[in-house]
Structures are given as structure tokens and as C-alpha cells.
Symmetry: C2
Subunit: 501 residues, 2 copies
């Protein structure tokens, strides 16, 4: 037990460092003045290197080996904690310290370059920085892959979604690629036969949007004693233990978009705020990978908040918040706005039916970039080709194309598929929750999330990482993660003859 | 040179950790939700311990000893850098790691308790936390003092103001204690004989106060590409290298107070932004102690911004910012408002003439607390006795007494005297600057700080810590730090027959 206890102390310290980086990262994207970016990069790189040194020290390695000898004396959570410590150790020790530091600095730099490149719609400004970031991420994938016995891409993917593999994703994505074009066609045909969704008329002051967002966050159970809502260019959920910070961006011409963005990040935040407090800063308390994390945001946004039931609760509150008048504010129209299907350029604005196409494209491109089959210089062309092929649209400005996302400039390769795996998980978990507790949907019509939140807390949030992803899905839904419930949900909401969901 | 170079790398890393703590500390006082305080305490304590471990490691000790052998090969700045590295090492290695961690956590806890105690005016809520913080600070003073050959109080003082000693302060403060009551009496008599200062009438929206503050910050030369202005309960200048963050608090009933608060913190910020960029993160680039730091804030606020010249520039801008009408907005009245003398309870609101009394009191009490002659339980009584004796006022609410300042709850003992030492330094430096560049005062009447800022940059800011404090004063003013220029300034501005300054 002594070795295990010393590991717990070490990982508690690592958790505090990670929390510090979380707040610094949040600040960088919300408030930091531009001239501070070099120094902030150094701060984050230094914390990263320190954590890396602690995690990969000979003392940690020895304590791990010793604790694994004593595993019989440990309880279920401690054993899972030890397993996750080993996982963290393998991922970290595979990468030499200078590579960690170089990639952290390069990512910070290319992220800052991306901000300017995006503002100007000038990919050439980003290209050299992105090329360097990609080069270092490929190198990380190679060295990790060598240790884990995985391809470079799988090794990177495993860092975001433990246990997930390209070979597991490919058939799921192939099913979507085969099914969705027909489903989209029928959804568009049905939509054309119905009354047209009318945009809410007026201008919508940021303050009112923010107030309504805060009200809905409270209804969903966001704990403001341990979190905040702020503004950033690219919305995210970040921060630290007991200090979960979500962001959004407001458009005064549109009352609906930021609101659902806020509820999306609130789904992430509920997961973070619901993680097992007794295991704070220990690896077993961590969220179980990014696919599951995204399942929580999409469950709140797509499954719960865009349901007919919740929109019936929301519509009068929207009207009240903005002093709206006329038929556009009726629940039926608001529901049509929130379930409108239309292929578009921007991933984060995409509807549920076309969103997977954005991910299929990015997955295709990033697997090719990591495999060395696609150079950064060729990215805009390949991106635009894919948009034409998968969405039927022609990109004329890279701001609508490969400059729209922060992920690659920020060094995240292997992250994109988790969005669509998350959409699948959201549908599967919501279906199971509603089957277990039939009162969930009627309660949403009253703006009451408590039954849903209780089910999620018990079955997902409070589990941390004690179970591995598919064990968690089996325990919660009776089966491993699949695409069926997601496709059934899309069929019901968008393509079925009568819109019931 | 190899040992020196390895030290430079180590201290660069330490600088990045300190910067990270600076941003986390800023966030704690501006934005952090209350429920995050325990975890934030852990984050700061962890970074503190990490920095402490690096600074006091055997490798650092060996490299220091080795580099000191090779000192002949170093230039002036490198030698000064090495001297400051040794200073930092001595201060840190004197204190065992568990004491560092315990005191950091205790300070965070008592700082949070102070917030609530102050809100409720309930000293008992703070007392046990403050007692623990004091106990640990006394212990730190003792162990440092043993190594440095200093009393515990001098050892703590040396941490804020290198080289400053109680024996040096005592005669300076005795001179103030002997001189100021008479000066105050004459200032009040002169004030009574002049037209009464009329408060600016109206309500003053935070947004307008903020905008005017930003305008004046820009005029003074604050670099917004490397800094911000925000709001906190207790104004401060913090943040990190290339990211200097000042705060203020606004009162919509008063247009004048926050504005000078902003200029005060801007004085601190100009020092931070003007430190030698080529030596970033090295000890020699640091500001030279808190007395000198305070001299910079008070020079901008008290010497420059409350001068007749600058008030002539400011008054019409105040009127314009708030749409003011009537005689209260005339420069003469605004000058009378900004140089009004009146004994009061709150240190941060005190005028120049009575401010030293607040410091004499706190200096008296904290030297007694550290010497073990005053217990925390007896603090409110002793504080209130002192307020009666030194300011002639009766405290009836601890919010107006010993609960008003964050310093002691935050673990800062030995900091208070630096405010009044700073006031002395400000007067001495401003007098020297105006003598060297007679255009400084006329330029201030045009809102032009460039000559003053240039002199400060050359003579103070860009020097970092290459000179020790009194060397710096001799180089810049021809004499070591003294009280004469400060007393002459007060005499001229407040007590002389014709108000010329």
C-alpha cells in the first residue's frame, strides 16, 4: 500500500499542475492580451515539462511496478486508479521531454498564428506554423505508437479516447457515409413540404442572451459556485477541478445559436462537475475520454434541448427575454429553427444530420496528414474537394474551409472523430435513460432536468474512469457504443412521416 | 560560464512558474468562483513547492558555488544576476519545503476567510485563520533570520525590500511621527481658510469611469498589448511578464477615487512593463523591492497626477466624461478635492498627509505580532487604540479597522512600511526628475507623460535589480533614500502659505 499511497500523492500534485494549466489555457482564450502569447507559451510549456518530468521519473516508474505487485490489497477504485496511472505513465514516458516542450511551444505559436490567419482569411500565414505542429505531432504519434504497438494515428487517438482505434471507427463511419445521404434527402424533402422556419426577427442584445443562457444553465444544474460562463472566439469547456469554465460567442443578429452553444458546453460542464469528488486529482476521477465527454454535451444540446418537449418550455422564455411578438416565436417555429437541416460550410453551426459529413472529411484528412499522405500545403485544396464531395458546397474563402477550426493549429490530431462518436453515444445513452425513467421527456417540457441529470450522474459522471468506455456503455445501456440509436434518432426526428421527436 | 548558464536556464524556468502563479493569483481575486478556493490554494501551493524544490535543489546549490568561482568572467549584469540568484537561494533554502507548503495553504485559506469576515464585519471568523498564518510567518522569520543573521521581522522585511532593516526605518518613521502632527494641523488650518472642496455632483456610471481610466492609462504609457485593467475588491498590480494586470474598484457615487486608484496601479505597471526585456525571467530583471515599486505608483499618482498641472489637464476631461455642469468641475475645485486632507479610517482612501499614520500604526502592530508581543485575539483592541492615538478617531466597526486590509490575512508581514518608504522615494525621485528635466511639469499640464516616463525608464525601470536600492537612489538622485523631499513636498503642497504645488 505504501507504493500506491506515494503514487496517489504524486498524481495529486500532477492534478494540481494540470488544473493550473487549465486556468492559464482558459485565460489565454478569453482575456489575455496578444503581446503575452510568447510568455504564456513558456508558462504552459514549463508546467507541461514539469508534469512530464514528475510523471516519467524513475521514482514514479518504481512505485508503479511496486504497486502493481500489491494489487491484491487494493479495492476496485484503487485498482482502476492504478490502471489509469499506468496508462498515463506509458503515454508520457514514450515521449522525450524535449519533444514535449517543442510541441507545446509550437502549438501555442500556431494557435496564435491561426487567430490572425483566420481574421485575415490567409492560410499562408498559418501554414509554416501548422506544418511544424503537424511534424511534431507525427513524431509523437510515432514514438507513442512504437511503445503501444499502435499506428501513429491510433496512438494519438488513444490519447483522446482510451481504447478507440481507427479499425473500430472505420465501419461505424462507413455506415454513416452509406446511410446519411439518403436520410438527408428525405429530411430535406420533408422539410420542404412543411412550413418554412422563420428566423426570429429583431436584434438580440448580448446581455439578454447571456441572462437567458445563465437561466438555462441553472435549470440544467450547472453549479455557479464552481464554474463560470464567459466569451471566447471558439467556445469550449475548460478550467480546473471545482472551477469549470465554459465559453460561448454571441451574435446580436441571432438569438438561438449561442443559446444552444451554451447548453452544449453545459453538457460538458455537468460531466466535469459531477466527477467523483472523493477521488479529486486522481486519474480514476477523470472523465472517460473525449467521445464520452462529447456524448454528454450532445445529449444535453441535441437530445434534450432540441427535443419538442424542451422547445415547448423554451419558446415562451425566448419571447419574454427579447420582447418578441408574432408567429415566429411560437414553439412550432422555434422547433423548426432548431431542427432545420441545411448543408453548410461551418462545422460548429452544422445540424445533426450534416454534422457527420464535416467529421468524415476531417477524419479522412487528418489520418492522411499523420500517415504522411497529405502535406499542409495541399490541405486547403483537399479540404475544399472534400466539402464539395461530402456536402455539395464550394468553398471560396478558407475562413469557411480549413481555417475554421482551432484543433489542428492547436496540435489536436485524432480529436475530430470523437465528435461523431459522441453523437452516437448521446443518442444511445438518452434512449437508455428515457427507457429507464419515462418521466425524463415530460419533465423537460417543464424545464426540469433533474431526472435526466440524476441518471447521468449515477451512470456516467460519478463513475469517472473506474470502467473502460465500452464497459461503461454496456453497464449503462446494455451494449457497446454503436451507431444504431443515433441513426434511429435522426430518422425519427428528421425523416419519419410524422415528426414525433 | 557553464555553471552560470545552467543557472540562467533554471531561473528562467522559475520565472515561468512565478508568472503562472501570478495569473492564477490575479484570477483568484477577480473572477474565480468561491467554490474553487480550496483547489486554487492547492494549485498555488503546488507551484510554490515545485519552485522551492528547484531553487533549493543540490544542483542549484552546486551551480551557484561554481558560478561564484568564475565571477571574473562575468559582465556587470551577469554578476548582479548571480548576486540576486544567491539572494533568492538563501531566502528559499532557509525555509523547509513543508513550511513553505503549509504557509501557502494557510494564507490562501485565511485570505478567503478574510473576504467573508470583512463582508460580515466579523473578526472572529478570521481570527483562527489569521493566527495560523501569523504562526507560520513568525516561524519563517525565525528560520530565515537564523541564516541571514537578522531578527525575524528584518528577515521578513528583507523578503519584500532587500537590504531594508527595522533600524533604518525607525529614525525615518520617528521623524514623520515628530513632524506630521504639526504639518497636519497647519494643513487643516489652511484648508479651513480656503473655499470648501465641493464633491462632484451626480452619479458616475462604471463604464464612463472605466473609459476615462483607460484614456489616462494610455496617456501615461500603459501598454495594453501587454496588460489589462479589471475589477477586484482590493486593487492591485499583478499578472505576469508581458501581461501586467491592474485592478480597481468603482463607486458610482464618486468619480474621482477609482481614477486615482487606476493611476496608482498604472505607476506600478509602468515599472513592470519597463523592466529590462533582455533579461526576462532572470532575477536581475526583477523590480528592486517593494519600496521602490511603491515609489513608482506614488510618483504617478501623488506627485504627477495630483499636481496642479495635471489636474488642469484632467478637470475638463472629467467634466466631459460625465457630462458635468457647474463650478464643482472647475480645475481649482478638482484640485482641492484631490488634495483634501482629512483623517479617516481607511488606509487606501487616506490623503498623503495622514497616510503615514496608518502605516506607523500597522508597522508598530506587525513588529509586535512578529516579536510575539501582540496576540491575534488582542489585535482589534490594539488597532483601535492606535487609530485613536495616531488619527484621533474611534473605530466602531472592524471593517473600518483591522479587517480593512488583505495583507496580514494573505501572510504579508513586513510589507506595510514599504508604502511610506515608497512615498519618500516618490518625492525624492520626482524632485530629481523635475530638476533634470524642467519640462516635466509643464508637459503634465498637457497630459503628456513622455518626458517623465523616459526619465523613469532610464533611471529606474530599465535598471531592474542591477543596482541595490540605495545605489539606485544615489545614481538617480545623488543621495540615499530619505524623508526630506517627502516632507518638503507635503509642506509645499499642503501647508505653505501660497499653494504652489
Amino acid at each position: 500500500m505504501q507504493a500506491y499511497r506515494s503514487l496517489a500523492t504524486t498524481f495529486s500534485r500532477l492534478g494540481a499542475i494540470e488544473d493550473a494549466s487549465g486556468i492559464l489555457g482558459w485565460d489565454m482564450q478569453t482575456l489575455m492580451p496578444d503581446g503575452a502569447s510568447d510568455m504564456r507559451g513558456e508558462q504552459l510549456a514549463t508546467l507541461n515539462v514539469l508534469a512530464h518530468e514528475i510523471l516519467t521519473s524513475p521514482q514514479t516508474a518504481e512505485a508503479l511496478a511496486e504497486a502493481e505487485e500489491e494489487v491484491a490489497g487494493l479495492g476496485e477504485w484503487e485498482r482502476a486508479n492504478l490502471r489509469e496511472m499506468r496508462r498515463a505513465y506509458i503515454h508520457a514516458s514514450a515521449v522525450p521531454a524535449d519533444l514535449v516542450e517543442a510541441s507545446s511551444k509550437a502549438s501555442t505559436r500556431s494557435e496564435m498564428a491561426w487567430r490572425e490567419a483566420r481574421r485575415q482569411g490567409n492560410f499562408a500565414m498559418l501554414a509554416p506554423h501548422l506544418a511544424e505542429t503537424l511534424r511534431l505531432q507525427r513524431r509523437i504519434g510515432e514514438v507513442k505508437g512504437a511503445v503501444l504497438g499502435l499506428s501513429p494515428y491510433d496512438a494519438l487517438l488513444d490519447g483522446y479516447d482510451p481504447g478507440m482505434r481507427q479499425a473500430r471507427i472505420d465501419p461505424l463511419f462507413a455506415l454513416l457515409r452509406a446511410t446519411l445521404p439518403d436520410l438527408l434527402g428525405r429530411a430535406q424533402a420533408r422539410q420542404a413540404a412543411q412550413p418554412k422556419a422563420v428566423p426570429l426577427p429583431g436584434r438580440f442584445p448580448v446581455e439578454n442572451q447571456k441572462d437567458l443562457g445563465l437561466t438555462l444553465m441553472r435549470a440544467a444544474g450547472f453549479d455557479f459556485d464552481r464554474g463560470r460562463l464567459d466569451v471566447s472566439l471558439h467556445p469550449f469547456c475548460g478550467g480546473a477541478t471545482d472551477d469549470v469554465r465554459i465559453t460561448t460567442r454571441y451574435d446580436e443578429a441571432d438569438a438561438t445559436r449561442a443559446l444552444m452553444g451554451v447548453m452544449h458546453e453545459t453538457g460538458h460542464a455537468l460531466y466535469e462537475q459531477g466527477r467523483p469528488a472523493a477521488w479529486r486529482h486522481q486519474p480514476v476521477s477523470q472523465a472517460r475520454g473525449m467521445s464520452l465527454h462529447e456524448s454528454q454535451s450532445l445529449l444535453i444540446e441535441m437530445q434534450a434541448c432540441r427535443s419538442r418537449e424542451f422547445v415547448a418550455f423554451l419558446a415562451p422564455r425566448l419571447r419574454e427575454a427579447f420582447g418578441g411578438e408574432g408567429p415566429a416565436w411560437e414553439a412550432d417555429n422555434v422547433y423548426r429553427l432548431y431542427t432545420r437541416v441545411e448543408p453548410g460550410f461551418i462545422r460548429v453551426d452544422a445540424d445533426e444530420v450534416t454534422y457527420p459529413a464535416h467529421i468524415l472529411l476531417r477524419y479522412e484528412l487528418e489520418t492522411a496528414m499523420i500517415a504522411g499522405d497529405l502535406a499542409v500545403a495541399d490541405l486547403p485544396g483537399a479540404f475544399n474537394d472534400g466539402v464539395r464531395r461530402l456536402l455539395g458546397l464550394t468553398v471560396t474563402d478558407d475562413r469557411d474551409g480549413c481555417l475554421q477550426d482551432i484543433h489542428w493549429p492547436g496540435g489536436s490530431f485524432g480529436y475530430f472523430p470523437t465528435y461523431t462518436l459522441g453523437a452516437m453515444g448521446a443518442a444511445q445513452l438518452f434512449a437508455a435513460a428515457c427507457e429507464a425513467l419515462p418521466g425524463i421527456r415530460p419533465a423537460l417540457a417543464q424545464g426540469d432536468f433533474s431526472a435526466l441529470r440524476g441518471w447521468l450522474r449515477d451512470n456516467i459522471h460519478a463513475k469517472g474512469s473506474v470502467l473502460q468506455t465500452d464497459e461503461l456503455f454496456v453497464a449503462a445501456t446494455g451494449k457497446p457504443l454503436g451507431a444504431e440509436d443515433f441513426l434511429a434518432h435522426l430518422e425519427r426526428r428528421y425523416a419519419a412521416d410524422a415528426a414525433v421527436s
